[in-house]
Symmetry: C2
Subunit: 236 residues, 2 copies
């Protein structure tokens, strides 16, 4: 159920925006199997709203790549096959390597970002020293780490693109983080990246980031087959 009081402060009544957020969340959490048809009236009923905001939301989700538009036949949840995951990871590598390279070369642009990096260091050191978290929380922290770096690099446009990539990858990272606790390894890698940045070791930072992303990619790869199988069994 969508309600106006769910909406973030400063953004007044806007059903469309909250529908976008909710559907994204649901798709990421595999609430719908791939290729599942999203009918307007059905969404209207579940969200208790009229078709106007639903239609606008679907159009936005389509441009973001979460659903696919069939001409005159509505929308379906997009099928993310293994090849597409690979593509998403490649784009992510391209963007994040660039971001971390900038960051290592010229440092964070302002004091706020410098503080953010210190906070990150504390967070991941704490995690390394035993404070355990739930899988979903870990996935969130991991995403936050990478996005904070991109933000500190000072390029809002790059951050925006990275966000849409990561949102779509979240589809599979949820599965991965759900199955295995890889906290230790992730902590070490993140701390290594931060160390290289503060040491202005550009190639080191790039290498550490590449390793971090590659490991995540491999983990997701092994998790994907199960996920797709599960999704298939749901569809039938």
């Amino acid at each position: 159920m969508i309600r106006n009081d769910q909406i973030v402060e400063g953004e007044p009544s806007n059903l469309s925006a909250s529908i976008v957020a909710t559907l994204k969340e649901q798709i990421i959490h595999w609430h719908y199997p791939p290729e599942h048809r999203l009918t307007e009236v059905e969404l209207c009923k579940t969200f208790n709203v009229s078709r106007s905001p639903v239609r606008e939301a679907l159009r936005v989700l389509a441009t973001d790549g979460f659903v696919k538009k069939l001409p005159n036949r509505g929308y379906v949840v997009r099928q993310h096959n293994i090849h597409e995951i690979e593509e998403l990871y490649e784009v992510r590598v391209a963007l994040e390597l660039y971001a971390v390279e900038c960051l290592a070369r010229r440092g964070p642009l302002n004091e706020n970002d410098k503080e953010d990096l210190v906070k990150l260091k504390r967070t991941w050191t704490d995690l390394l020293n035993g404070s355990s978290k739930k899988a979903e929380e870990l996935a969130r922290l991991d995403t936050q780490f990478h996005e904070t770096l991109a933000h500190a690099a000072g390029n809002k446009t790059l951050l925006r693109h990275l966000r849409t990539i990561n949102e779509r990858l979240m589809l599979f990272r949820m599965i991965d983080f759900d199955k295995v606790d890889r906290a230790k390894s992730t902590c070490h890698q993140h701390l290594k990246i931060l160390k290289c940045i503060t040491a202005k070791d550009t190639p080191g930072a790039r290498a550490a980031m590449q390793q971090n992303i590659d490991e995540g990619r491999n983990n997701v790869h092994t998790a994907i087959k199960d996920a797709l199988a599960r999704a298939y069994s749901m569809k039938t």
Copy 2:
């Protein structure tokens, strides 16, 4: 005026999509000054349609970054300041360097793409040997060159992101190409890139691409001040 018969084949009656395309085109060609307010009813009148497709179009344009949404106050054409251009170019560099690196390392993925590269070579050789074109045509060919490379690299997601970046940059490249004929230099650079790719010279390809983009960036930079000044004079 928007009409259904303007629509591309295979995409049946869809006013919203054609409004998106038309508005994008208009914004890129500086039909509206930055921060110009886009009222729904006004767009309805100029396009001779109702508010539904206009609203959906505006939402899409907002997620693509062409217009900015003010809560409960409609939309305005986004102001692209110099800093944002710089950001767009940085993302473009990150993506295109990655693409050209893949291409130089492992070559085009299939025969079609290999053909495309040959066609590109012919096109730019012809241009170098005198066949002159209008500024707008040149800009189009240049964009096509870069997008063909990304396509040949075989990553559709990367291509999609590159497209949205390039579309927004087109705002300023139009101005630049309009003022000076830089065909010769561009030709040489593009041919150099192609040569490095076929020679599997990865660092060479990266360097040539970096040089090509940097030159474009510099040209645009020098052109921007005039553009902004002109836009300002339009606004007042």
